[in-house]
């Protein structure tokens, strides 16, 4: 999935309007609306949240609570490639922590952050259901099993 990372320009608002129209301007649809906007815009900065709040006729804090609760939502632009390192029990005991540290060092940013060149965003995941392949790391939709710290640079280097 290509993640868009452009800035919030005036032209995103008609696209947001279209999404809200499609989903219905009611709070019941808030999560779906935010989900669709994030797909479209790439992230959910404060002006976008305030805009949605105004459209749905709710105080902005209502939108912000939802955005900050779900780790799927991001308020900062994501990198071109989302790197997720599993920190579930099996991955953790088999060195997932060290893999994560190496990934952070390689990308130059911590969990929940994006590298300065917008190449990578780093995140953790609690379990991918692939414990037999632990420790696991994913880049976008690609899965890398039995990761070692020494393999991190090679794997990440493939993604421009």
């Amino acid at each position: 999935m290509a993640v868009q990372t452009e800035c919030i320009c005036a032209d995103v608002y008609p696209r947001i309007d279209a999404i809200i129209e499609r989903k219905g301007a009611q709070t019941d649809s808030l999560i779906e609306i935010l989900h669709a906007i994030q797909q479209e815009v790439g992230y959910l900065p404060q002006p976008v949240q305030e805009y949605v709040a105004e459209k749905l006729d709710v105080p902005a804090g209502v939108v912000e609570s939802v955005v900050t609760f779900y780790t799927f939502f991001t308020t900062v632009p994501r990198g071109r490639h989302l790197v997720k390192v599993c920190q579930g029990t099996a991955c953790y005991v088999r060195g997932g922590k060290r893999v994560l540290e190496t990934v952070e060092k390689h990308c130059g940013c911590g969990v929940g952050e994006t590298s300065e060149d917008r190449r990578y965003s780093v995140d953790i995941v609690r379990c991918l259901g692939a414990c037999g392949l632990a420790p696991v790391l994913t880049v976008g939709d690609d899965i890398y099993e039995r990761m070692k710290t020494t393999k991190v640079a090679d794997v990440l280097g493939k993604y421009e």
């Binding site: 305030e50 709710v58 105080p59 902005a60 804090g61 209502v62 912000e64 900050t68 609760f69 780790t71």
Partner: protein
Amino acid sequence: MSDFTITVNGQEVQASQGMTVLEAAQQAGIHIPTLCYHPDLPPMGACRVCLVEIQGERVLQPSCSFPVRAGMIVETHSPTVRKARRTVVELLLSDHPSDCVVCDRNRNCELQSLAEELGIREVRVRVEPRGLEVDATSLSVVRDPDKCILCRRCLQTCDLIQSVSGLRLKGRGYDSVVGMAFDTPMGHALCVNCGQCINRCPTGGLVEQSHIPGVWSALEDPDKFTVVQTAPATRIALGEALGMPPGEIVTGKMVSALRALGFDAVFDTDFTADLTIMEEGFELIHRVKEGGVLPQLTSCSPGWIKYIEHFYPQLLPNLSSCKSPQQMFGALAKTYYAQQAGVDPARMVSVSIMPCTAKKYEAARPEMNDSGYQDVDYVLTTRELAKMIKEKGINFADLPQSEFDDPLGESTGAAVIFGATGGVMEAALRTAYEVLTNSKLEDLDITAVRGMDGVREATIMVGDLPVKAAVAHGLSNAAQVLDKIAAGEGDWHFVEIMCCPGGCLGGGGQPIPTSPEIRRQRAAAIYQADREMPIRRSHENPSITAIYERFLGEPLSEKSHHLLHTKYTPRTRKPVQIPVEA
């Protein structure tokens, strides 16, 4: 609805379908400790303190939200329950600041009481408090997120009772924090300053912005002349904060206490409540006769004023232009009274005792300086006054009764009922009836507008004129009325709106705790105080007649307009961002 029995601690207890275990137990007089539960709010099951053992259930269940079933067997204090409950509270204490002795809520804190009740003598896991910043930017409310235990009562209050939704829960898990949208400082955020969140906060997480130090300095400064006014609802609640049961009328003792604190003149907001009836009543008559904007909305409650400014700015023309009784008093103290008493208003310090935290904001509004000075300098909540009385070593219970000073101390029963929802309406109708029909109202108790229903409507015959009235308290109830007005429905003449549940008697500055039962007891005291007053109609107050003769001229005169009326500010609902200082 079927009735059946359940067994709680071996005792047969009546219950009915739809009840929770907690409700059934409480009804039978069985105590279950609670923390996030509040009788004004729907159960949340957030804190797990009310856990009980239910036979057949795999794990302990929160009694606040667990529905009863016929034949259910419940243990509320078994060893398993007691141990689990202790662990829950110990974990809440694990990162809670332990400076209880200097906390605003010391000895009035539910977490503290709970620790004592559950016999907690050590906290096995201790970590540093999160070190979150105290937000003291609001003129009314101070938020200390380190003392917050995330019970969510405040945000339920802000959401469900007040329809403001300013306070929100942000983030998740250990990083959760209750705060304003986008970390906007509270003083710049969407907030009506009502303080209902403070009334429901179990800890010191939310407290009022204290004016106590400023008031002490004014009292101790020999160059200052201190005047004080007391709002209607303070006299029936102050006792609670000083160890008395709810519903005690302590007017005379309160006056004595204020003199003992050193105030030079002790006056009554009830006087300007009577004056409000004159001004607001004549404004209504003017609107009806001249085809003005109707319904006229009352304007005594500053939380409500800020709410309409944010949420229904299009209805501001409906709002009475009358200042609240507090601000009418402020403007008159530094003009009329200063003149009468020969006191230089520049050295006068005007203090008010209010059941309200929004009054602190109201006093600081930039337009509230028609006397040529800030009309009201300090606002103390009922709670703060109780603290000062304690600090001064005054034995409140043994104080003699005394009377307010003249000329701003005389009032009527119509003024004291301003403290209860429906009171302003009732007081206005008593006067409107007699002024318009030129005849005596037989029964002064206009019970149609009394009570605790969220929205009440009544049509009262004033002579041949059917006056259509509505009363709402709590802003979510107000919103229902306002939606109708905004949609062009609702053909009322006069609508009374009070920000807080129960009116001012349930205000955000009143003693903690609050509950429907406590508010009922306070309301009963208000109406008793009304019945005991020798005069019960605002227009019969001799001091009101005198002030119009000597100073104001007549209701809605130019002088009245200058000192007693005000303008409002349309606002948005957006979280206002202030620039970061370099």
